[in-house]
C-alpha cells in the first residue's frame, strides 16, 4: 500500500516536471528568457557600474546587496538557533552514560604532520580568495567555508581546546557577527554618503570606493562566515 502510494507520488511529480522541462527553450541557447532581460546589461555595464570585474560578485554584493544582507543574517541566525537547541535547557537529558570518548584513538603522526604543513597554505589560499573575489572566482562565502574547513581540520588534529585557543572567546563573539555588522556599516555609510541604505558610489571617479567596499564586505563575510561555521561545528561537537 505504502509502496504503491510512493510510486504514485513519484509519477505525479515526475511526469509534469519532465513535460515542463521538455517544453523549455533549448538548453544553452542565448534566447532563453533568463538571458534576455537584465543579464545583458549586467554583463555589459557591470565592471564600470558596480566596481568588480567578476559579475557574480557585482550581482551578489552590489546589485542585489539587500538579498545578501538578509542571507548573511540567516547564517548568523542559524548559529543562534543551533546554540539555542543544543545548549538550551538540559533538564530532559536522559542520555545513556559511558559514551565512547572521541579521543580513544590517538591522532596519526603522518596526518598531523601533513595538516601542519598544509594549513598555512590553505590559510593563504583562503585569504587570496577573500581579497580577490572581485577579479577572480571566489569571494566572501567561499573563503569563509575554506577557513571553516581549516578550523575543523585543526580541531581534529590538535584537539578542541588548542584550536579554540586560537580565537579567544571575547573576540569570537565579535567575529560571529562580523558579516552582518560589515553589511550594516557599509550600508549606513551608503546612507550618509549617497542617500540610501547600501547605496554604492555610481560616478566614474568613485569606482575605487565601490571596489573598496566590495573588498571590505568580502572580508567581513569571509571572517564572519568562518566564525559562524566553526562555532556551529564546535557547538555540535560539544559533549553537552
Amino acid at each position: 500500500m505504502k509502496r504503491a502510494l510512493t510510486v504514485a507520488l513519484l509519477v505525479v511529480v515526475a511526469i509534469p516536471l519532465l513535460y515542463a522541462v521538455a517544453q523549455l527553450p533549448q538548453h544553452g541557447s542565448p534566447m532563453t528568457p533568463p538571458y534576455t532581460h537584465i543579464s545583458p546589461r549586467y554583463l555589459e555595464k557591470g565592471p564600470e557600474e558596480a566596481g568588480a570585474e567578476n559579475i557574480v560578485t557585482d550581482v551578489i554584493l552590489n546589485y542585489r546587496g539587500f538579498d545578501t544582507n538578509g542571507e548573511v543574517t540567516v547564517i548568523f541566525t542559524s548559529l543562534a538557533a543551533v546554540c539555542a537547541v543544543l545548549l538550551g535547557s538540559r533538564k530532559g537529558d536522559e542520555r545513556p552514560a559511558g559514551e565512547p570518548s572521541s579521543s580513544a584513538v590517538p591522532v596519526s603522526d603522518v596526518v598531523s604532520f601533513v595538516v601542519r604543513l598544509l594549513s598555512p597554505l590553505i590559510a593563504i589560499f583562503a585569504v587570496y580568495v577573500m581579497l580577490f573575489g572581485h577579479i577572480s572566482p571566489g569571494g566572501g562565502f567561499q573563503s569563509g567555508a575554506i577557513l571553516a574547513a581549516l578550523v575543523i581540520v585543526t580541531t581534529v588534529i590538535v584537539g578542541r581546546k588548542q584550536a579554540e585557543a586560537l580565537v579567544p572567546v571575547r573576540i569570537r563573539r565579535l567575529l560571529q557577527v562580523a558579516a552582518p555588522l560589515t553589511f550594516f556599516v557599509v550600508g549606513v555609510s551608503g546612507l550618509f554618503l549617497f542617500g540610501d541604505y547600501l547605496a554604492y558610489p555610481k560616478t566614474e571617479g568613485q569606482m575605487w570606493l565601490a571596489t573598496a567596499w566590495l573588498i571590505v564586505i568580502g572580508i567581513g563575510i569571509g571572517v564572519g562566515g568562518a566564525a559562524v561555521l566553526a562555532s556551529i561545528f564546535w557547538t555540535m561537537g560539544d559533549d553537552s
Partner: protein, 113 residues
C-alpha cells in the same frame, strides 16, 4: 611544428597514456582485490601515479608559464594529500579492528598452530 615541439607532444601523449593506464589498473584493483587494505592501496596508487603523470604531461605541453606553476602546485598537493588520505583510511580501519585478508590455505595453517 619543429622537432622539439614534436618530441614534447609525443612525451605528453606517452605520459597521459601512462596515467590513464594507471587509473585503469587502480580501478580494476578497486573492483577485484579481496579486502579493504589492498583496495585502499590500489586507489591511492592510481591517485598518485596516474594523476601525477597526467599532470606532468600537461606541464610538458604547456611549456614554462603561470599555468605550469599552478600545475606544479597541484601536483605537490596531490602527492601530499593522497597518500595521507590512504594512510588515514588504513589506520582507521586497523584501529577499529578490521583484520587484513589472508589467503585461505595460509589461514588454515595459522589456525592449526
Amino acid at each position: 611544428m619543429n622537432a622539439v615541439e614534436a618530441i614534447l607532444r609525443a612525451l605528453t601523449v606517452i605520459l597521459c597514456a601512462i596515467g590513464a593506464f594507471y587509473f585503469f589498473i587502480g580501478t580494476v584493483g578497486m573492483l577485484r582485490l579481496p579486502d579493504f587494505y589492498s583496495r585502499t592501496h590500489a586507489a591511492t596508487k592510481c591517485d598518485t601515479v596516474g594523476a601525477g603523470s597526467i599532470l606532468l604531461g600537461l606541464m610538458l605541453m604547456q611549456g614554462f608559464g603561470a599555468i605550469t606553476l599552478k600545475l606544479i602546485a597541484l601536483t605537490a598537493l596531490l602527492l601530499l594529500s593522497s597518500p595521507t588520505a590512504g594512510h588515514a583510511l588504513a589506520r582507521a580501519a586497523f584501529r577499529t579492528g578490521l583484520k587484513p585478508w589472508r589467503s585461505p590455505e595460509h589461514t588454515e595453517g595459522e589456525d592449526a598452530t
